[in-house]
Subunit: 176 residues, 2 copies
C-alpha cells in the first residue's frame, strides 16, 4: 500500500476485530517497522511486549482495560509499548506510528487504547518500576463482512482540526 | 512509495540538503499526513510552525541550533513541532512520524534535531510558555549528485538493536 494511503486509511476500530490468529511473520514485520524509527542519540528507547496468551489477555482485560475497551479482549494479540528510559515518550510515539502504519499496510487493525490502568498492567506483565508503560493496542484481522463498512463510516466521520488551527508561519500565531 | 519502503528508506541526513525551495503543495501534504495521526481522546495536541523566512532560520541557527546542527541552516524550510497541552508528547510523536514518512514519500529529507536550545527557540518563535517545544526538522530536497550515495552509506551503517533486545512475549523479560 502507498505510504499516504496507509496514513489515510489507518483507523482505530476496536469493534469488528476477528479472533483469527495473526501470523508470527506479520507480527515480526510490524515490530521491525517500529525498530526503524529515529530516536534521540539513537537510544531506541522503545520496548514491546507481544501478548498472545489468552489467559494473560483475559487478565489484562478484566483488571486493566476500561469498560469501553473490554471488546478488545477478543483480539488474538495485544501489543504493549513501553519507554526505557521513561522520559523517551516522544521517540516511542515515532516507533508506534511506524508500527500501526505497517499493520495497516499488512491488512491488520489496531486501536491505541486510552483509559488503561497502567499500574495494573505493569503488575500483570512484570514491567519494571523504572520503565514507563506508554500505550497498548490490539493487533487483529478485520472481521469478515462487517469491517469494510465500519471502517468507511469511521473514516467519513473522522473529525480533524483544519490546518489553519494547527499550523503557523514563521512564528506562533501567524496564519499559515 | 510503498509504506514499508518509506519506513525503511527514511534517514536523518543533515548534510547533502539542497537549498531549492520546497513547493507549498508538498508542505501542505506533509502537514496533512501529520494531522491524520490518532491522539488520546482525539485532542490533536500537535502544533507546527513552518519557518521559511531566511532571517528567522538564520536567527534560529545562530541562537538555538547546536554546533553540529548548524549545517541545517541551508535548508529552505524548518518545521517546528510543539505539544499543546504540553504533556501530549507521545501523540506529537505519532504525528511527526507521519510527517517524516510523508516527506520521504515525496522525495524530501528530514532530520529530527537533538540538542536544540528549546528556550531560545520558543523566544524567537513567540511560542507561549505553556506550550511545549518538542522537535524541529529541516525539510529539503536532497542535494543533486551527492545525496544518493550518502543515503546509501547512512542506511548501510544504520545500527539498530535486535528484536530480541526490544521485544518480549507475554511478560517483561520473556524471550520473543
Amino acid at each position: 500500500m502507498e505510504t499516504l494511503e496507509a496514513i489515510g486509511k489507518r483507523a482505530s476500530l476496536k469493534t469488528h476485530l476477528s479472533a483469527r490468529q495473526v501470523e508470527q511473520e506479520k507480527i515480526t514485520k510490524i515490530l521491525d517497522a517500529a525498530r526503524l524509527a529515529p530516536s534521540a542519540r539513537n537510544r531506541q528507547p522503545w520496548r514491546f511486549i507481544v501478548v498472545k496468551d489468552k489467559d494473560v489477555i483475559e487478565t489484562l482485560a478484566s483488571k486493566a482495560f476500561s469498560e469501553a475497551n473490554l471488546v478488545m479482549r477478543e483480539a488474538p494479540v495485544i501489543i504493549v509499548a513501553c519507554a526505557d528510559p521513561s522520559d523517551a515518550v516522544f521517540d516511542v510515539g515515532l516507533a508506534v506510528e511506524n508500527m500501526i502504519l505497517a499493520a495497516t499496510d499488512l491488512g491488520l487493525v489496531t486501536h491505541l487504547m486510552g483509559g488503561l490502568d497502567g499500574d495494573e498492567l505493569k503488575n500483570i506483565l512484570a514491567i519494571p518500576r523504572e520503565v514507563r508503560f506508554v500505550i497498548a493496542t490490539p493487533l487483529a484481522y478485520p472481521a469478515e463482512g462487517s469491517y469494510e463498512e465500519a471502517a468507511q463510516e469511521r473514516l467519513s466521520q473522522r473529525t480533524r482540526k483544519d490546518l489553519q488551527e494547527l499550523v503557523y508561519s514563521n512564528a506562533w500565531g501567524r496564519p499559515f
